[in-house]
């Protein structure tokens, strides 16, 4: 390393790294020239643990990967297992899954809004508003399965509970509240000059680069690439819903913000449609108590709030998977961090990292 650069460590105990992440930064005065993420502080050996668990037992473990959106992880894993089994899921269960995962997307994006504005300097004001909103959704989860964060709300074959009128009225009330909250946050943030200075033209990533680096999720769409697995490779009846995929143009932090706000609105649209057209019928398919899956392998990916979440499962004919490999969106998105940060100021690293929406539970597994 050239001695004219200053090397500093950001993290692993830095309050803005969204978990225990160590970034080794090389600085030329205040300009970043090199970023070296140092991972593994939250490594729990999940993939190895799963080799000793039955297929159904893995589901609660997936809650702990991306603990901010547990249901999306549940769904990703469960859909992969169901695809491997060739299981047909009842329509009502699919719709309930859609409602739950879209609520989870709102929770993630609205929580992100609080975090990223916090990183940019709006110290905790917006964070408090968004977390009040998130609380309403967590209460819905608590009403539905009984847990708030690591909810384990999806089972192989369907969902554990049906949704009733009380839950639907709770969801509708929360959606109305969110609409109001988004308008308020829009008033505070969208045209605020500090926010514009901190985000416009910062962390720019072109569409070609984004595709080259395998970026997925809202950050990819902010660069102008229209790729959403819900639309392009529909799963769990997403083809029956009418929604738009918002894209940005500049690929900077500001566009990522706009894309995420628009995604919240689209998620609300999906939830309203799902509640209106909720089919009647069973909420779970018949699954044997001891689940043995014939030999084979599968990869299935879904559009999690943070990007493309995929599970690769190899089965060897017993009741335990031989290997489960997870393609976590945060891990892949983290690769683009260095290119985004290069040439920006040190203080922008925190906001760029926040705008990527990475979560260390998912990176380290």
């Amino acid at each position: 390393m050239d001695s004219k650069f200053l090397e500093i460590n950001m993290g692993p105990q830095h309050p803005s790294t969204h978990g225990v992440l160590n970034l080794k930064l090389s600085l030329d005065n205040e300009v970043v020239v090199k970023v070296e993420p140092n991972l593994g502080y939250l490594h729990r050996g999940m993939e190895k643990l799963w080799e000793n668990r039955t297929y159904a037992q893995v589901v609660p473990f997936t809650d702990r990967l991306d603990y901010f959106c547990a249901i999306s992880n549940n769904l990703g894993y469960v859909l992969a297992v169901e695809k491997l089994m060739g299981l047909e899921i009842p329509k009502r269960a699919q719709y309930i899954r859609v409602i739950l995962t879209e609520i989870q997307r709102i929770v993630n994006h609205i929580g992100w809004l609080g975090f990223v504005t916090n990183d940019a300097g709006a110290y905790y004001t917006i964070n408090f508003y968004t977390f009040e909103e998130r609380e309403e959704y967590l209460e819905i989860f608590e009403e539905y399965v009984g847990a708030r964060l690591t909810i384990n709300a999806i089972r192989i074959g369907g969902v554990p509970f049906d949704i009733d009128d009380k839950l639907i009225s709770m969801i509708e009330k929360a959606l109305v509240e969110t609409e109001k909250k988004i308008k308020d946050i829009d008033k505070i943030v969208t045209r605020n000059r500090i926010w514009l200075h901190r985000t416009k033209g910062v962390g720019v990533f072109s569409a070609e680069d984004a595709v080259q680096f395998g970026l997925t999720g809202p950050a990819l769409r902010a660069s102008g690439v229209k790729w959403d697995i819900r639309k392009d490779i529909p799963y769990s009846s997403y083809d029956e819903f009418d929604f738009d995929v918002p894209t940005g143009t500049a690929g900077d932090i500001y566009d990522r913000y706009l894309v995420r706000v628009e995604e919240i609105k689209q998620s609300m649209r999906i939830i309203r449609q799902a509640i209106k057209n909720l089919p009647s019928g069973e909420i779970a398919a018949k699954v044997p108590k001891v689940l043995k899956i014939p030999e084979g392998e599968i990869f299935h990916s879904i559009e999690a709030p943070k990007g493309e979440l995929g599970f690769y499962i190899k089965s060897n004919g017993t009741d335990k998977p031989e290997r489960v490999k997870m393609k976590s969106p945060s891990f892949i998105n983290m690769q683009s961090l260095e290119s985004m940060c290069k040439g920006n100021m040190l203080a922008d690293v925190v906001v760029i990292l926040g705008s990527l929406d990475v979560l260390l539970g998912e990176i380290d597994k």
Binding site: Q57, V59, T125, Y144, V145, G146, P160, R191
Partner: protein, 153 residues
């Protein structure tokens, strides 16, 4: 151009934002003052698991060990034996709170409904050995707060 300048000069967007924060200053407080106020857990709340008794007061558990096999964290250690009337009953029922992830799979799998998640969420204790539960401590009528905190309660 002039409008843009005036907007910038008079800090329009700042005042707009300030008005929103002012509105929130006078809105309903969202914080719950625990422990004076306690939020009621929902009907399906997944707290610590407890064993239940049947209507006749006898244990419901038939020591089938399905919960032991279902639990992803391997919390249970159960041993059963036949009682006087020839029914299988647990003689040893060790359950480890330290490992439990409150997933609720054991309660879903139990064929007799003996084991269920309770609504108890206050599970802190200064004594680590209190986190290992035995058969008599597993029943739903057992005083958990006294168990965890002893005389300090």
């Amino acid at each position: 151009m002039i409008i843009k300048f005036l907007r910038m000069f008079f800090l329009v967007e700042m005042i707009q934002g300030m008005l929103v924060t002012l509105k929130y200053t006078f809105s309903r407080k969202a914080t719950i003052q625990y422990p004076e106020e306690v939020k009621q857990p929902s009907e399906r709340f997944r707290g610590i698991v407890r064993l239940h008794r049947g209507e006749d007061g006898g244990p419901l558990c038939i020591a089938c060990k399905i919960c032991q096999r279902t639990c992803p964290q391997n919390c249970f250690d159960i041993e059963g034996a036949k009682d006087e009337s020839g029914k299988m009953r647990p003689v040893r029922f060790d359950w480890n709170l330290e490992r439990c992830s409150f997933c609720g799979l054991c309660a879903e799998a139990c064929p007799t409904g003996a084991i269920r998640n309770s609504k108890e969420f206050r599970l802190s204790t200064p004594d680590r050995s209190k986190l290992m539960f035995h058969l008599s401590e597993m029943y739903s009528d057992y005083d958990l707060q006294k168990h965890f905190l002893g005389e300090k309660i």
